[in-house]
């Protein structure tokens, strides 16, 4: 067996089964959470539909009062909601303290009045696949030394269990705790709880097992090793998705980023595993990033989009293509505004949002939502406010753009 790796800076609950995690809230924290829950409720009081109704209707291409809108802040940005964007509390604090992770997400939704709460993974598996890793102050953990160097290492590698290994239990605890809180304050079934099981199988191999350089090139020049490893990461990913459903997430989704590889390599060495994840997770949605038209076409051909309700393609993919592509599959399309537009000037942001709304809603009967994901750390909160406000204003039906 390959020894488990080490995570430099790991919290003391690392490798503890999530159902045994016993993080308690103080009286003050209970009050804090109650306030967040009440604010979240206040934010949606005036709407004709609850966020859950809006979400479900969007998925089915049915009529909605306004376009679904939410922010997917990742762990690195959501934490900023806890200290009024003072850069005092750091992302590393969120990775080490699941209570902070949970409160940050609740505070975030309360602050920006969005439709969904979206928990991004605490770990891509940096230290769960034999490698050495470290927590960083301002970013997601990183692998510093890969654990698998040979086929023999790969043979001995044990597939981790997300319910008890590494940082994963903290993630599952937070999702489940959120459901309990929502239940208590009657937000269950009102505000959707989204959870990601990122990253997709190929990217776990590249970022957490072989290192980026080897990981990207293995499907081209080390194919046997590649398949040995991606089989294991696929098995893990399916299990992670299942664990998130067990933790009572309302929606489980995963990112895709495959344009690093030529289409032929993607089709033969990577896409079939994504298809399995989508079917067996199962996944509710495929997130965005780094895809190109050829790659998404391949995944579609292999049935990778059949099981999911929504597809989010990044804004580097032309919006017209994205709309047409998802329309043909009768899938809801959520447009991800990447950090590029969201962090930019407000006029350009407003223009971009309006343009996306116009195209996104051009196909009645096929759902459309607006999401801003992977928000960069320095994005001013005013920009997030502007994004949400813009979608709510221009995204009211009937659309008048």
């Amino acid at each position: 067996m390959v020894n488990w790796g080490k995570l430099e800076g790991a919290p003391n609950w690392f490798n503890t089964p999530w159902k045994k995690l016993d993080f308690r809230f103080s009286e003050e924290e209970e009050l804090e959470i109650e306030r967040y829950a009440k604010k979240i409720k206040e934010n949606i009081e005036e709407d004709k539909m609850t966020p859950m109704e809006r979400y479900n209707a969007t998925m089915e291409g049915q009529e909605v009062d306004r376009i679904l809108v939410y922010l997917a802040p990742l762990t690195t940005y959501s934490i900023r909601a806890l200290d009024s964007f003072a850069n005092a509390v750091k992302p590393i604090d969120s990775f080490r303290h699941p209570k902070l992770f949970l409160k940050a997400h609740m505070a975030f939704v309360a602050r920006f009045a969005t439709d969904c709460i979206d928990f991004y993974t605490l770990s891509y598996g940096e230290s769960e696949w034999g490698g050495k890793a470290k927590l960083l102050e301002l970013a997601h953990p990183v692998m510093t030394e890969p654990g698998v160097k040979t086929m023999e290492d790969a043979d001995r590698l044990v597939v981790p269990d997300p319910r008890k290994d590494g940082l994963y239990p903290g993630d599952l605890w937070a999702v489940n705790k959120c459901k309990q809180i929502f239940r208590k304050y009657r937000l269950e079934g009102v505000v959707p709880i989204l959870a990601s099981c990122c990253s997709p199988p190929a990217w776990i191999v590249a970022t957490c097992i072989r290192g980026l350089t080897n990981g990207f090139l293995d499907p081209i020049r080390n194919v046997d090793l590649w398949h040995k490893l991606i089989e294991k990461t696929t098995k893990f990913e399916i299990d992670y998705a299942k664990a998130l459903w067990e933790a009572e997430a309302d929606v489980v989704w995963c990112c895709q980023h495959h344009a690093a590889w030529p289409p032929k390599v993607f089709k033969e060495q990577i896409a079939p595993y994504d298809v399995r994840l989508a079917k067996e997770g199962p996944l509710h949605g495929w997130g965005y990033a780094f895809n190109q038209e050829k790659h998404v076409g391949i995944l579609r051909e292999l049935g990778g989009y059949d099981p999911v309700k929504w597809v989010a393609l990044d804004t580097e993919t032309p919006v017209e293509f994205s709309r047409q592509f998802t329309k043909e599959m009768n899938k809801s399309y959520t447009c991800i505004e990447t950090d590029k537009t969201l962090a930019g000037n407000l006029k350009a942001l407003e223009d971009a949002v309006k343009a996306h709304i116009k195209i996104g809603t051009s196909t009645p009967g096929v759902g459309f939502g607006m999401v801003a994901g992977s928000i960069d750390y320095w994005t001013p909160p005013e920009n997030c406010d502007a994004f949400v406000k813009c979608v709510k204003e221009y995204g009211k039906f009937p659309i008048k753009l």
Binding site: P91, L136, A139, W261, Q292, Y377
Partner: protein, 222 residues
């Protein structure tokens, strides 16, 4: 003469074919038949890289293609570097490049290094997870024209602002161009952090570096 020209063309094609072993053999052969290292660089390697860049922009080549070409380029540069020095070959400019503190990603940076080397730049790679001071220290040491900072992890991009400040403190900010790159960077954010330019990808990074060098030379009256 025709044979030498054909050999340089073969080097270009071997780069495009991502055939590192063949590139190595061809470059050694080219040196044996007394093709100047500078010609190998600018008439063999460089056209291959330019063509690869064009294919990448047309989405015919992908990141892994550039990575493999980057490896082949490094092999070529390792072979011809001593010969370039001996020939006292003209250098397009001196670049210090690294990944900023808190970030350990280097794929993009390595491809940029390949592109810059292939275009005749003298590149000093300070590595990954580098404190901002180290960029400036190296820039002073080698009398750099350009400092390049790679930052992919969202929050670490703010280090570019630090590097800008360190360049100012060292009194060389007006003599050195600052370029940054990494997923999620925009021209607007780069400028906000004090950078002179931002490379959208490795191909764009080369283009912007060349523009910066031109601008610096005009500024210096070179």
């Amino acid at each position: 003469m025709a044979e030498k020209k054909a050999l340089l063309e073969q080097i270009k094609q071997a780069i495009l074919d991502e055939n590192e072993e063949l590139v190595k053999d061809l470059v050694n052969k080219a040196l044996e038949v007394k093709i100047p290292a500078y010609d190998i660089l600018m008439k063999g390697l460089n056209p291959g890289l330019v063509a690869a860049g064009e294919k990448y922009e047309k989405m015919e080549f992908f990141l892994t293609d550039l990575m493999l070409i980057g490896e082949a380029t490094k092999t070529v540069m390792d072979i011809i570097q001593p010969h370039l020095k001996a020939e006292k070959a003209e250098v397009s400019g001196k670049v210090v490049i690294g990944t900023v503190e808190g970030d350990i990603h280097d794929i993009g940076k390595n491809i940029v290094i390949a592109m810059l080397s292939g275009a005749g730049f003298e590149v000093h790679d300070i590595g990954i997870d580098q404190p901002s001071k180290n960029f400036v220290q190296k820039a002073v040491e080698v009398n750099a024209d350009i400092v390049g900072a790679s930052a992919i992890l969202g929050a670490t991009k703010i280090r570019v602002k630090e590097i800008n400040e360190e360049l100012r403190k060292a009194g060389i900010r007006d003599k050195v161009g600052l370029i940054c790159g990494g997923w999620g960077f925009t021209e607007e954010v780069a400028k906000k952090f004090g950078a002179d330019a931002h490379g959208e990808d490795a191909v764009d990074a080369l283009r912007k570096t060349e523009e910066l060098i031109k601008w610096l030379k005009e500024k210096r009256g070179d």
